[in-house]
Amino acid sequence: MSSPVIAQGSKVAGPSSQTSMLLLLLKMRTFVALILVFAFFAIAAPNFLTGANMLIISKHVALNALLAIGMTFVIVSGGIDLSVGSIVGLCAMVAGWLVLYGIDLQIGWSLQLNTLEICLIVAVVGVFIGLINGLLITKLNVAPFIATLGTLYVARGAALLFSDGRTFPNLAGNPDYGSDTFRVIGSGTLFGFPVSVWIMVVVALAAAYLATRTPLGRHIYAVGGNERGAALSGVNVDRIKIFVYMFSGFCAALVGLIIASQLQASHPATGETFELNAIAAAVLGGTSMSGGRGRIGGTIVGAFVIGILADGLIMMGVSSFWQTVIKGLVIIAAVVVDQVQQKLQSRVVLQSQA
């Protein structure tokens, strides 16, 4: 079978095959990390491999992955969105309010809504906050970090104001208004998988398509890579930036809906520090904080690594304090490995050209 041609080929590749293997491993590092983490808990944590547990983990991951998808676009465009956690909280409260009370028309009547209408309104709220972020950043020239830090506070405050800090309980909905299906978003299943996971899959596929196969996606990368250059090439930089924040707000609104539906209650503190997990997933998946580089697939894998790590450690009974430490170490390690990979990669290119 081993023809001389193949033997010759392997000879040529010989000296660098070790490094190229290493490079391949590093390139796939998030995926490798995912497999390692998965294998570790499969052995170390009892009941980890059960179907029920898999479903629970995937539901947890879906939430962070959704936020991280929106975050990836924002970071690739050269920005950052700190407000997503608060948008989740506000949107959950809006959803809760709409399910419980509908819209009060101030004339002794109230407008009751069905599930689809509620979802649409909540989505509009999320997108609207994203729009405000985008306008602040483009038209008023506020740094993304500051603009979204501001909306983080404003949206969280608004969520608390909605209920005076209380929780909206019993969001079962009302069959008469067609809102009894609200709980399906969070707890329903389709073909054996939770609806929330399906939402994540659909959004991820759409986002990956957007990133690689549409002018809009290309423009996002161009803006992150060189804003001036993109502008002079005819890219409407402001519109691109506004879009990514609106999309991020939309993703956050979805998460708010899912959580309110899952818990059948909405609490104004929902989503606190979610933005940090989303950033972590994007970075773990290879998104560069300086913009221009990052992929949706990488981000999804990154979200799974974080999710499995968190749930696995809980199942092993590791204290939550240690969990936090471990999560931090994993993120730092990911970025360090990223640097090593880039150095190694340029060296391999050098060798191949020597």
Binding site: R213, T214, P215, L216, G217, R218, H219, Y221, A222, G225, N226, R228, G229, A230, A231, L232, S233, G234, V235, N236, G292, R293, S346, V349, L350, Q353, A354
Partner: protein, 509 residues
Amino acid sequence: MSETHPIGLTIRSGSKIYPGTQALKNVDFDLRMGAVNVLVGENGAGKSTLMKVIAGVEQLNGGAITLEGKPVVFADRTDAARHGVGIVFQELNLFPNLTVTENIFVGHEKTIGGIHIDRAAQRAVAAALMKRLEQDIDPDTLLGSLRIGQQQIVEIAKALAENARILILDEPTSALSAAEVEVLFRVIGDLKRQGVGIVYISHRLEELIRIGDYITVLRDGVITGARSMEGVDIPWIVSNMIGSASKEFPKTENHALGEEVFRVEEISLPSPAGGYVVDHMSLSVRAGEIVGLYGLMGAGRSELLECIMAQHPASTGKLFIGGEHVRERSVSGRIRRGLALIPEDRKRDGLVQIMSIRENLTLSSLGDFTRGFHLSLKAEAAKAVEFVKRMAIKIASLEHPVSSLSGGNQQKVVIGKALMTGPRILLMDEPSRGIDIGAKAEIFRTMRKLAADGLGILFVTSDLEEVLALSDRILVMANGRLTGDFPAGAAAADVISAATPNLNKVKST
């Protein structure tokens, strides 16, 4: 000759490999002290690499460096600076947010006790350096508020402040006005007398012959000629650089000019300091015409092009393409109407460095490959291949990052990107800046060909020879205003005097 100019630094069989190219192949180089050692070669010939090796920015993959007889290895730039090697990069490495003094002393601040910066001492040295360099620059000025030419002088002062025994100047005159060049040459003469060994890199051949004592010509990483400057002339340099006789300027092909295709009326851009950067400029370009816009640094030429390309919301005035008023205020709108700009600064404005060659080429024309939302990568790649061929861009793969290309090929990508939008008017800002002779000639030929195909071209240049040789018509700008309008074949002296209308006034004061 060699006795009066002792060899200070030598490189023996130096090799350097980069991703994409072997930049130096077994190079032997002698650097003579108290003399100007000129390095010349096309872009990508390896002169920048050689210079970076001497300055410790890059390390050789093979070969050895000796400094005053002793073998040395420079770990990095600071290490080289400790050995007395200073460098002034073509792309300035300065901090616009710091003062001139702070810039000069960055990294080697004068301190008291290692902690407290001795501001007074630093300012005194900076002021002395500015005086030595004949510059009327207050050491406390923020660097960002200086003109590019002045910033270059600050960069040189920075190297001098480190007591450089060997000073490398990479294209030091590319951003300087004629007067500033004279100052620089006086400074160089001064340094020579003090025994400083100068490595001088430039694309301006007349300049090299004038200032150089020794010349080293590089081609594709190999030294093709090294000798004393005596008896060297431009044909000798060019033949060593590109292996054939000069081909810099193509012959003007005679073709009939068409109708007026582009006109601007009363374009103005107010200056934040009062007055106008662009002062009620009006001009027109006919189809098939190459209009050269000549002027000195700061004359407002680049700003005019930027106004035309919708980069200054504060600008006023009217644009007409083919007689129709252009009302679009967005870049994409103006590109759609048939305008395309080749910016002056490729790195900053022309390209997205981390994107691939394909993605850069098609960035302005993605709409052509899109149906609804869907971007056809196949159609995009086909178009990119077509333009790589048409522009004769030398690449290994469309998917390599554009940053892996040499300057000339990067410029071709920028031009290819502009042409892909199917423009009627091409605005080119210093299209040959920082490009080697071979690529320059190709770009000039391309401009000629495009004009023959009916495109109107408005190009900005600071190179007199270039504007005289290439233009069908020469416009001259000074202080934001149009100060001259000459037909092809105008006398150089007339063009120069139009570019410096208040020369006499400056001299008398």
